[in-house]
Symmetry: C2
Subunit: 218 residues, 2 copies
């Protein structure tokens, strides 16, 4: 009974996600659905990515949060278009929220759209919003058991950013195990090890994003 309800909600979501997809295709926008646990560093990674790419790529951001506009303000300070979605308690973004947010973006003028999802290692992975790729951030402070404990997001993501690598000497964390387990779940995923604090690994990540994005140019 419960399963039926969930499946109906997912069907309705899929339909709207396809409408979003059409809009993205018509406007040649490359869309990244960015996911992670709370506090893994999504917004900071976005800030770094925008600083690195904004002179060469037209970027916009949709910020998903339960409440508040902190993250949108941080992105706005970098001079790129940003829309804040407040889910008012909801633990993930769905396609209709993104569809509504698109009304407030200059979509014809965007090449790369980041949708920063609500901080949650579970539910966001279940909802297609019309994106080209899902990408995720895992902070090494979360521990090396996370890929096998939360497998779906690692399976669904085209790229995973292993972040806060500058803290590795202060933690009992086995980064090789993290990578091994992620590759076991998803052999073709692209992995990046980054520190937004020291800048380590950021260039590899932004180049990867830029390469994917530029394929869309006419």
């Amino acid at each position: 009974m419960k399963l039926k309800v969930v499946s109906k909600i997912l069907d309705a979501n899929e339909k709207i996600a396809q409408e979003n997809r059409k809009v993205f295709d018509q406007n040649r926008v490359f869309v990244v659905n960015l996911m992670s646990s709370p506090g893994a560093g999504k917004t900071t990674l976005l800030e770094q990515t925008i600083r690195s790419l904004r002179d060469r790529v037209r970027i916009a951001v949709i910020e998903g949060d339960i409440t508040g506009t902190d993250d949108a303000q941080r992105i706005d300070a970098l001079g790129v278009p940003v829309v804040q979605i407040n889910t008012e308690g909801g633990c993930h973004l769905d396609a209709s929220m993104v569809q509504e947010a698109l009304n407030d973006l200059p979509i014809g003028d965007i090449e790369l759209l980041f949708v920063e999802n609500v901080g949650n290692l579970v539910c966001p992975a279940e909802f297609y919003i019309g994106e080209d790729i899902k990408a995720m951030v895992l902070s090494i402070t979360e521990g090396h058991d996370k890929p096998l404990k939360y497998p779906m997001m690692f399976r669904q993501s085209r790229a995973a950013v292993i972040n806060k690598i500058d803290l590795k000497d202060y933690l009992d964390v086995d980064i090789e195990k993290i990578k091994r387990d992620i590759y076991t779940l998803n052999p073709t995923i692209s992995l990046f090890e980054t520190s937004c604090k020291t800048g380590q690994g950021i260039a590899a990540w932004t180049e990867w994003i830029e390469t994917h994005c530029l394929c869309r140019r006419p």
Copy 2:
């Protein structure tokens, strides 16, 4: 329409939670619903708590995970009864999962039951499972913006453990802001600052738990 569905699910959950509550009352069990983001340190805090209290209090644990039995094995190694719930994709525990798990616990022989919820800073706070108190763990690595961004869990919790305090010198994190914001959301919450690595603050937390638990003794 969607709201109606959600409200029906919550009604059904409430009914079963009340049944669990009756079982806990009849057996004088003090039940802590322990919540956090993935990797904030719930299981490690539980290990420390069990080591500290097991000679004086009869403890048991229900472990909630999407998949796997890693956490249950860690608790089992400490010699206390433990049952693993696998939600198979579900992002929170509900009352019926806990009710089923209770069948596998020697409930008449338990004084303190920890229910370690799925790692998720959002949904677990919405589901009453019959517990006496909700308690939460926040790792300082998640950043000082988390209370205001995920207010519900901080509002619902009777205690919050601010964990991994040993890392504070390596992070740009304002712990005073965390405490200030938590108190703003929830003025009567009990706050603890802990490091499961150095042991800092663990005694204050375990004494608090023990005091609440002992009130149940006849």
